[in-house]
Amino acid sequence: MITVLKLDLFNNSKVSINSKMTRYGVIVLLVLAGVPSLAVAASFAFISNQLDNNVSVIDTASNEVIETVTVTGKPVGVAVNRQKSQVYISTPIGNGFSVLDANNFKIKRKVTTSNGALGIVSDNQGERVFVADWYENNIAVFETNDFELLTTISVGQSPSGMAVSPDDRWLYVANRVDNSVSQIDLNTFKIRNTTKVGTHPFGLTLDQNGQRIYVANVESDDVSILTTAGLKRVGKVQVGSRPYASALALQDTLLFVTNQDDTTVSVIDTQTLTEIKQIEVGEKPEGISTHPDGERVYVANWYDGTVTVIDAKTLTVVTTIKTGDGSRAFGQFITEIQ
């Protein structure tokens, strides 16, 4: 209920209260409802280091690596399940994914899927985890108690980035080789819509209202913007070379896109759909996630083995954190732990 209210307040752009007031109102409501304030929860970033076979855990308060967890199988994808304090790490060479306990930073178990596990995402209720298989052209759906396979959904060629709608009704997937995005009904596990985007879409990002999809097209060097309703194409924005993934910040007003071959992050104004800046980051920037505060953006740099932290307000680099070789962190990799 509270979440819905929050979304409505942010969504309704016609309401002429200033946004500070609105945010204040939401916090008051959350406190009144007995929900712990967002400010007191600690947030951690989980960075998969593909070449080192481990995951660096960054405490975002100090921006320091506080733990390094061994995860064999060339870890790539990261998904967080805030409800169950779990982090899922896809391991393409390990034929599945590892479940990391976010409370003690230990690997709880390994789940075998098939041999091209890459993209991974959890639903918002934390009940299901979705694993896209790059080779098998499908998405495996697991429940998050015993990690039993619920079903397998056939999708387009080389599914990669995914996102789940705020109400857990829809799953969106970028089909890299098909140059398309599909919308999947999570009640029936059937594809409802498919739309062509740019060439080789990879990372897929959904805004917090579940209205818009942003997908980074690796080969056409641009970002496609779609509405979730009917997957209509809203626009396309040219970015740097070989964009990999994106993340939204400042109440979805800015989109940050990693340009793998340019050592930069493109900043896009989501109102005007124009690139307003390119920020220099580490070499081969790949995975990107926004802190729950909505104001700091974390970028994993594959070549440098570092994470760059960007201040979304000033559009400057706050710090660079040494992680491990081949930092990839493809997916949502920051979560709060109460």
Binding site: L51, K74, P92, N115, Y135, D262, W302
Partner: protein, 200 residues
């Protein structure tokens, strides 16, 4: 007996297909060599993006844009074929430059999994590399780091386009270049002075 061998060969087949079912994971190949000469002198030989004459496998360099970002060069290989590269970053103060391959000539076309597959002159995809020199007292260390995917990005690559083929080809390019550079300062130096590390 026959049944046993059938079972064994099936098991072997399953093992082989699992073993080859590597995801296309980007590799990072690092080549390093120590040279008994000041860094500035070594850098002077390799610093110009439009001049690859220090590499013994390159017959000619057709370049545009000097050492400016986005400059291009077309390398003609002595063994035949061309590689087109773009300069991505140039740091004179750090004695380092970074470039990527944007185009390559085709060696041959093979049929794999019912489809025609092109084998480029360097059997890799999305290749980028950084060449740099660091001073260490009166001597220097040259580091050449290449990052690339194997040539075939789908499952079960043909032998011409797998990780081994990519690593071998890239190693050969880096080795020939660094060995020649080393030889300019230390005649008779052994190729084993060049250290390689592949991470994938």
């Amino acid at each position: 007996m026959k049944q046993v061998s059938v079972v064994l060969s099936i098991l072997f087949f399953i093992f082989m297909s699992t073993a080859q079912a590597h995801g296309p994971v980007r590799g990072k190949l690092t080549a390093k060599v120590k040279i008994n000469a000041p860094a500035e002198k070594v850098w002077a030989i390799i610093k110009n993006f439009d001049d690859m004459s220090w590499h013994p496998s390159i017959a000619g360099t057709d370049a545009k844009g000097g050492n400016k970002k986005k400059a291009t060069r077309i390398l003609t290989l002595k063994g035949g074929g061309t590689i087109t590269e773009q300069l991505k970053a140039y740091k004179a103060d750090k004695m380092s430059y970074k470039y990527k391959i944007t185009d390559m000539s085709t060696v041959k076309t093979i049929t794999h999994a019912g489809k025609d597959e092109i084998v480029p002159v360097l059997p890799v995809s999305n290749y980028a590399a950084t060449l740099s020199v660091k001073g260490k007292g009166g001597s220097s260390e040259v580091k050449w780091v290449a990052t690339y995917y194997r040539g075939y990005l789908n499952n079960n690559p043909p032998s011409e386009l797998n990780e081994d083929a990519a690593d071998k080809a890239v190693t050969a390019v880096l080795k020939a270049g660094l060995a020649n550079l080393l030889g300019k300062f230390q005649s008779g130096a052994k190729d084993s002075a060049i250290k390689f590390k592949v991470k994938r």
